[in-house]
Symmetry: C2
Subunit: 714 residues, 2 copies
């Protein structure tokens, strides 16, 4: 499969296109692609295939794909679903490289269709022919004018070519987004509608676009992910290249997920895991089509990504400045305040009722002196802590408005720092000034909030990317890693499905994760001698693979202070366990150090069907149970990601030392998270769940201790 | 002041308008209003006033307002700030009713301006002349074409008249919102830009619009509120009338607040209190100008407000359905699932790969049979749990699109249930179909998310309003109320600035709020006898107005189990207090019942400068201290509002009985909240702060107990 991905150039930039089932009806699926190819001036060979015609739209028409005189790069299959399989077989005979199947009637519409779809999948696997769809609206290369789709939005002239790659899992909505984006002037390199993804899927198309030199950003409409690990690799590569990915991922809600599962036969997967993955890899998540278009439009027009998240805000009306400041704060941008020097310089050119802080309120007065406005722009753009500008112009009309628009264009050419404009006035009043901006390559919006959101998304992406790229890679000694993995694998080999608490800790200890001092006592005397060597206070717990709920079974005694208490606890625990489950196999009684004064946190591993092992962190008690206050990442994680996980939870202040308490040993937690994430990857095939609950966190410098652990083998 | 508000008809619908400082320069502030009045055909008398001209734009020009032959309803003052005061005095001589002052240079720009503004305020108070501004862009009545402003957006023709009233505290941003809204087809009844609000302020204008029969909704751009209590009355009246208020309230962030305070000289006040007030009164809060316009546009076009928050979602593409379901869930609408009957009826007319659930995916197929689409619309609109429809049309173009648009218009006339459309395709493709909707009175958007947001805002408003109107008013026995107030006032009269814990509880007890059994012991024997009568376990606390931090002083002993412990605790507490503060005046030792097993919550009163007493509720411990998980309301509150406050906090589950625990006595908390809110109102002038921390909440049916209370007098 992977070898074929390299050949997607035949799919996106085919030298020949055949349309099986082509017709002369311009308004039908079978008619449109032919017209589009003609109208937009596709330069390759075009072969309509339909036994009913000799010629269509000036192209010679063939009875069958087998009759076509060359091996075709891309076939568009515009026939009823029942004809798809036999036609595919003919394509194989012709030596066709890629086929796009438009028809619906497959997995999305019942049992019969599902079987048919499986047959197509099998054929693709066996023959190596590449298939896009079925139940899709096709693909487009805007550079090559290779229109491989039938959406009406492809009939509009001219189609804008540009640096945005676009993959959509919804055909109709997907191409309507395309249409809206084109109307907003967004230019695309390639577009792919993926449908049921019987063979080629979203990530394959994205991988191709990522490596395309003409593509600066990829935007995707996403319902579900087929191969989480491929997405992880792709996202890493995208970060490396500095090509942002913007994802409109739907299915956040239960009803939305339900609706998605009946649409394009897609399994949406866990939204929480997907969201964590996006955060982890700097993928920009949006919840509306307009936000996606806003960001793409800006990316297309700015010379470079902003260098950081310090935003400069300029406005001709105070109100718009407040609006921007509110939004910038909301999305956690920095709004650096101007220093005294800059403030004075700004005050020299704006009226006394303006403001030289950031947001800078130049007031409508500034329009009287074009020079003044330029000076303010210059001061802001020269400021080292400001990485991008958003300028709001409220109601400046006529010549003054024209002057401002021209000045902004001028400055945008002198600086690589990105500039966006919000011109909050109706078109009937300022339409022409907006054209100056557009023609000058400056992106504008009607809403100050949307301007800040779009710029903010790129600023945060860029800031995130710089952080990630600056990180040192190795967080784990590689020789140790290999050793721990080997030991753990052989340790697990002879264990039951559920490990006992003690076994769980033994496993963790192999990864150098600190656990409580403890030993299993098999007699009263043994218990006493273990107890003396660990030191009081102690905890005692029944050790049996058949008793999972130790408290319920009376198999747990805490805070044992001396030998006498230990002896009686030993016997009581055994007796209770016997009463609770007479058939339980008892290994003995665990004698364990009591760690006191620590803060309880929880660390867990889960296996996500799409992304593999994920790691979870949260504070114990109400935080996890009531507030669901947890952070999540795909394993493995770096040390920096571990710190991000810890700082991300709402209850972080408790660890950082709120309410006069001492700071907890956060470094030690991070260390455990990294090691557990490594374990999760090493043992992905052996264990399906791991819960450290609680991990006791002592004061800064004093470390952590695993107090209880639950491990479930696959 | 209030008597004059009734006369705002002279301000908004004046029979005569004079422009002091009028000029012939169309592009200047002094020139524009005259042209606008002429151009839009204002029917009243127009008097330019300027000694330099004899005639302007066809109107006779006067040397001074004193020369104008009638007492003028509205004067637009377009002169430099230095001339404002003398001109105002001339206006008084003429008998002018209202003056709008455009000039800036007042409180917003320094000391000199501030003094000038105070002089204007004084003049307004003394003479009764009504003043709008200064530093504003004026007002408009679109019905009467009385253009009292100079914004360029007022020069556009035609201006759309309609049911939306609009008040803005920002001139430039405000009129640019007006311009954008007009371009979107939103029609206004009245517009007012309020500027520095030296006399007339935002709420005055809102009150007038609220009573105007042509106005169905009021939208406001808000930086700060002058008179919270007036706003409360106004909001209640708006709820009664069923006229929604939409507020773009800025200053959510610290930097935003700072920027606001230097703009239109406005104090933004506490955003949290304002937000609580909006929630309490059903005021729709938006954070962007586009959302405000979206909601106003929808309100203008629907025949009636939706009856509830059950939304029906129809789409021609599955993807858009998911997008809508996600958003509807996010904003907490109901998405009722179709019953078997409806599902079957829908499946009869849509293809097998469609979906008859809600969202209903009719697929693009449905366009082939117009009848089928109408059937689906009818089934959804007839459904009793569906109160409004949002329909997404992705890429249906040409004749089919036209048919759909016409069908939607047809259905929108047969039903009062509101319908909104999202037509997610670029104008180059479907422009004409959108015109059919607009002309048919159906509101459309380009984004499914924005369509759901706008409809959702009205649905939630309507649902909220129905709930509020259905509530029984009296929550407090009026004779008791009066009595408690009298007793409390006299009780407070002789108390120190800080009440002791015991005094605080005595005060609360006057309002029938349950406090711990307790008494002050002044001797060992007294303590013992109090202890025996209350019963063990007990708590003992030093009682001194000079010792606020009892724990720190060692003045607190808990869980006293018997007489011996009581005696030694008595002496220890006294001794510790003496050591801690030898000069402290000691009233004795408080002997108090120990309430065990309760959940700790916090109830507080604060006085907001704008809104007066507010009441706060939260769970004790980390919830308030770390997570700031509190709910807030303006006092007084009803019992239902008390329940809303309790349910609103994130930790509510703990009270509702999470983790296998018994449910807490939520009714008893609500009872305390209502009574405390009453106390807050009664004693607004006597106390500035009250904190019940903790209020111990026992199991359902077992009540609550105030365990500690802090009261600070004014």
């Amino acid at each position: 499969m992977n070898t074929r991905i390299k050949d997607l150039k035949y799919f996106f930039s085919p030298e020949s296109i055949a349309i099986i089932g082509a017709s002369g009806k311009f308004n039908s699926i079978s008619g449109k692609p032919l017209y589009f190819l003609k109208e937009h001036g596709y330069k390759g060979n075009v072969y309509p295939v339909n036994p009913k015609y000799d010629e269509l739209v000036g192209f010679k028409c063939y009875k069958s794909i087998i009759d076509v005189p060359e091996s075709v790069d891309l076939v568009l299959m515009a026939v009823n679903y029942k004809l798809v399989l036999p036609m595919l077989k003919q394509c194989v005979r012709n030596g066709v490289k890629y086929v796009t199947i438009f028809a619906s009637g497959f997995a999305e519409s019942g049992e019969e269709g599902k079987i048919l779809q499986e047959q197509i999948a099998k054929l693709a696997k066996e023959t190596g022919i590449g298939i896009c769809g079925p139940n899709c609206q096709g693909s487009v290369s805007l550079k090559d004018k290779a229109i491989g789709g039938f959406s009406a939005s492809l009939g509009v002239k001219p189609l804008h070519f540009g640096p945005i790659g676009y993959v959509t899992q919804s055909g109709a909505l997907g191409y309507s987004i395309f249409s809206l984006a084109q109307d907003s002037g967004v230019g695309f390199s390639y577009v792919a509608s993926t449908g049921n993804e019987v063979d080629l899927h979203t990530l394959d198309f994205m991988e191709f676009m990522l490596e395309d030199p003409d593509t600066k950003m990829i935007i995707i409409y996403l319902e579900g992910i087929k191969n989480g690990k491929q997405f992880v690799r792709l996202a890493d590569r995208a970060l490396q290249l500095g090509k942002p990915i913007v994802a409109l991922k739907v299915g956040r809600s239960e009803i939305g997920q339900k609706a998605a599962s009946s649409h394009t036969a897609s399994l949406t997967g866990s939204d929480a895991v997907c969201d964590a993955f996006f955060r982890q890899k700097g993928i920009i998540r949006v919840n509306d089509i307009e936000n996606m278009i806003d960001i793409a439009a800006l990316m297309q027009r700015i010379p470079e990504l902003p260098e950081g998240k310090g935003i400069g805000l300029i406005t001709t009306s105070g109100g718009a400045g407040i609006l921007m400041a509110d939004e910038a704060t909301e999305i956690e941008l920095d709004i650096p305040e101007m220093e005294a020097d800059s403030r004075e310089a700004i005050m020299e050119v704006i009226p006394p009722y303006g403001s030289p802080l950031n947001p800078v309120d130049v007031t409508a007065q500034v329009i009287n002196e074009a020079e003044d406005f330029m000076k303010v722009l210059k001061i802001m753009l020269d400021h080292p802590k400001i990485h991008a500008l958003v300028i709001v112009i409220t109601q400046i009309t006529g010549e003054s408005g024209k002057q401002m628009a021209e000045d902004i264009v001028k400055m945008s050419r002198l600086y690589v720092k990105p500039i966006a404009v919000a011109w909050t006035t109706g078109d009937r009043l300022v339409g022409d000034n907006l054209k100056i901006l557009t023609q000058g390559g400056v992106q504008y919006y009607k809403s100050p909030v949307r301007a800040v959101q779009a710029m903010g998304a790129l600023m945060k992406y860029s800031d995130f990317r710089k952080n990630v790229l600056s990180r040192v890679k190795t967080d784990f000694n590689d020789s140790d890693e290999g050793k721990a993995c080997l030991l753990a694998t052989s340790f697990l080999a002879d264990k039951e499905h559920n490990l006992t608490e003690h076994q769980g800790k033994e496993l963790l200890a192999l990864y150098d994760i600190p656990v409580t001092k403890e030993e299993i006592a098999t007699s009263e005397g043994h218990a006493v001698s273990i107890g003396e060597s660990i030191g009081y206070p102690l905890a005692m717990k029944i050790n049996s693979p058949d008793i999972l709920h130790k408290t319920e079974a009376g198999g747990l005694k805490l805070n044992i202070k001396n030998k006498n208490e230990l002896v009686s606890a030993y016997h009581e625990v055994l007796k209770n366990a016997g009463n609770y489950n007479p058939k339980a196999h008892i290994n003995g009684v665990l004698v364990q150090e009591m760690v006191s004064g620590g803060t309880e946190v929880i660390v867990g591993i889960n296996n996500d069907p799409q992304f593999g092992p994920t790691i979870m962190f949260g504070l114990g008690g109400v935080f996890v149970e009531i507030l669901k206050d947890v952070s999540l990442r795909i394993a493995p994680i770096t040390r920096e990601e571990a710190f991000e996980m810890i700082e991300e939870i709402k209850g972080y202040k408790i660890l950082a030392g709120a309410r006069g308490k001492a700071k907890a040993d956060i470094k030690a937690i991070a260390d455990v998270l990294v090691k557990v994430s490594r374990l999760a990857i090493d043992l992905e095939d052996q264990i399906c769940e791991l819960d450290i609950n609680p991990l006791l966190v002592l004061h800064e410098g004093e470390g952590v201790r695993v107090a209880d652990a639950l491990v479930i083998k696959k």
